[in-house]
């Protein structure tokens, strides 16, 4: 399902239309279309093998698509070699040139554009200052920490004012704390420079933190493109609901307006206008359960985990239904084997 809903404000800077690519029998991209607005940060989120990296390579020019076209600012770049595309890219492993100093790395794209020496010095200085690495000019990449290498890669990708910034899972190699710092920093920089950006990741949490919009990919096709809240609250299908965040997904039939009949005979009150008789999916986020909710579930706790701010409980309900529930961590962790009742309100249930 491809939703054009909420395509951000402003004009489309990057336009991908019907791009297809196959490797032998494997369909890597199945006629993918999407657009990214000027200054927007769009995340392509998907598991490995979903085609997201191939899509990025097509945009960067490292892979030629079998069909479809890519335009930037209205100009068709599908046939241009990478060198002519004016796209800044941060690679997964940063791809810093190990034999060149930090300064020479950042100066590289400017030299390739025959920028004058004084101008290069000025812009490299600016870019390094922007990523807070002033003073590291003479170091070699291997003399830097992972986070610092990442900043150099970022400086190198933005120093020549590219039309587009591509980030290919750039935070994968960093530890959690550093990753969170870098995420915020990248976001700040991207906003400040107004860079149209595509960010690739398999980490849904990261996608939610960083993005204006998220495109969820699976099996070479885009499953849903929407804002972060939209993706989380109103996923378009099972895959998106399951891939982004923790979820309880059930399937049933609309038996009456606002009423879903589950296979075990239970009825759920929901807030949906789906026509009676329609087969629907039901998404209940674990954290939306609360004592006293309208739709009640009673079950035995089979697993209880303390997670700091919350308890994560797995319930075995009557009728064999398993349910994942999160409750604020107050008091003692409920013991496994106890039976509890939780509820969820109709407007907290998403029907798709």
């Amino acid at each position: 399902m491809r939703t054009a809903k909420g395509s951000g404000e402003g004009s489309a800077e990057l336009l991908i239309e019907g791009v297809a690519k196959r490797f032998g029998d494997v369909v890597a991209l199945d006629h993918v279309s999407l657009q990214v607005a000027q200054g927007e940060l769009l995340t392509i989120l998907g598991p490995s093998g979903s085609g997201k990296t191939t899509l990025l390579k097509v945009v960067a020019g490292f892979e030629a698509p079998d069909a479809g076209r890519v335009t930037v600012g209205g100009a068709d770049i599908t046939a241009l070699p990478p060198a002519k595309r004016d796209i800044g890219m941060v690679f997964q492993n940063y791809a810093l040139f190990p034999h060149l100093s930090v300064k020479a790395n950042v100066a590289f794209p400017l030299e390739m554009r025959n920028v004058g020496k004084a101008e290069i010095d000025r812009r490299v200085g600016e870019a390094l200052a922007m990523v807070e690495l002033a003073g590291y000019e003479a170091r070699l990449p291997k003399q830097l920490s992972g986070g610092q290498q990442q900043r150099v890669a970022l400086a190198r990708a933005i120093v020549f004012n590219p039309r587009l910034l591509l980030l290919d899972e750039p935070f994968g190699a960093l530890d959690r704390k550093l990753r969170e710092t870098m995420q915020l920093e990248v976001r700040r920089l991207q906003r400040r420079l107004g860079l149209t950006t595509i960010f690739i990741t398999h980490d849904q949490e990261e996608a939610l933190v960083l993005s204006d919009r998220i495109a969820v990919m699976n099996k070479g096709a885009i499953q849903q493109i929407a804002t972060t809240t939209e993706i989380y609250e109103r996923p378009a299908n099972d895959f998106v609901a399951d891939f982004v965040g923790e979820s309880n997904i059930l399937h049933g039939t609309m038996s009456a307006p606002g009423l879903v009949a589950l296979p075990d005979g239970r009825k759920l009150m929901v807030d949906s206008e789906a026509a009676p008789g329609a087969r629907v999916g039901v998404l209940m986020r674990p954290e939306r359960f609360a004592p006293g909710g309208i739709n009640e579930f009673t079950g035995e706790i089979v697993e209880a985990v303390y997670l700091g701010t919350s308890f994560k409980l797995r319930l075995a309900c009557e009728g064999g239904q398993e349910l994942l529930v999160r409750q604020p961590a107050r008091g003692a962790l409920p013991a496994a084997g106890t039976t509890i009742t939780v509820g969820i309100d109709p407007e907290a249930i998403h029907v798709f």
Binding site: D86, F97, H99
Partner: protein, 259 residues
């Protein structure tokens, strides 16, 4: 086998390997007029005789520039060949791969006789460039093996990064790929040089009256064993040591060649 026994056995094998290299040092410094061991006294006479003999010096220079030219030619031909073999997909690539390594497998005597037959027809016997061509054939597999190993370990995303940042393919090659391959290039060039500098069988057939150092040594061993050759050997060993140090310092592939 217990570790201690293993170490003892290996010590003997190391000794066996190094013995011939070590034994020429005292002999080259002997004061005796003929081969004698242990040397009765110390003298530089054999080094002086080597340096004073224009034939030896000629042969040395000839071997040096033939080795240098061989290294250059083998790199110029072998590096692009290795790029093709590792990175390109074309029909007959596997065949070319075997052809490129065949000069190691085909016995040198056969290659020598074959090229001798051809060069006799082409009047190339006794020319230094004829030897360079033949030595290049022999050195090519070394260059291909070393460069191919370097290329296989090469991180292609660096080249993609360079191209994405605006570098043409040519500039990417000159600014990124070749500089990063420099250790492999150094090793390959030095190995090609040494393989030519040491080479005797082909030279025996092709050198004619223009002696290379190994051919001169061969003739000397056949005629008379006088310790001049020990002095020459010592210098040869020192040169190889220098080359190995250079490879260890600036090159790569010695340990990788064990793969």
């Amino acid at each position: 086998m217990s570790r201690r026994l293993l170490v003892a056995v290996c010590a003997l094998i190391y000794f066996f390997l190094m013995l011939p290299l070590l034994v020429v040092f005292p002999i080259s410094l002997s004061s005796a007029p003929y081969m004698q061991f242990p040397p009765p006294g110390f003298s530089w006479q054999w080094y002086e005789r080597y340096l004073d003999d224009p034939q030896w010096i000629d042969a040395t220079w000839r071997s040096l520039y033939i080795g240098g030219a061989t290294a250059v030619l083998a790199l110029l031909l072998g590096v692009p060949l290795a790029f093709s073999l590792v990175r390109a997909r074309f029909r007959g690539r596997a065949l070319l791969d075997r052809l490129a390594l065949a000069p190691i497998i085909v016995p040198t005597i056969i290659l020598s006789v074959a090229i001798y037959g051809l060069f006799a027809k082409l009047k190339l016997i006794g020319t230094w460039y004829g030897l360079v061509v033949a030595h290049t054939v022999l050195a090519l597999p070394f260059v291909v093996l070393v460069i191919a190993a370097g290329l296989r370990d090469f991180d292609r995303s660096l080249e993609q990064a360079a191209e994405g940042l605006g570098a043409s393919r040519w500039k990417t090659l000159m600014r990124i790929t070749l500089p990063l391959l420099r250790p492999s290039l150094v090793s390959a060039g030095l190995l090609a040089f040494i393989s030519s500098f040491d080479e005797v069988v082909v030279a025996l057939f092709l050198a004619g009256a223009n002696m290379t150092l190994p051919k001169k040594m061969f003739d000397n061993i056949m005629m008379e064993i006088d310790p001049t050759i020990a002095a020459v050997s010592v210098m040869q060993i020192l040169l190889v040591s220098v080359v190995l140090v250079l490879i260890g310092r600036f090159g790569r592939g010695l340990r990788d060649s064990a793969r």
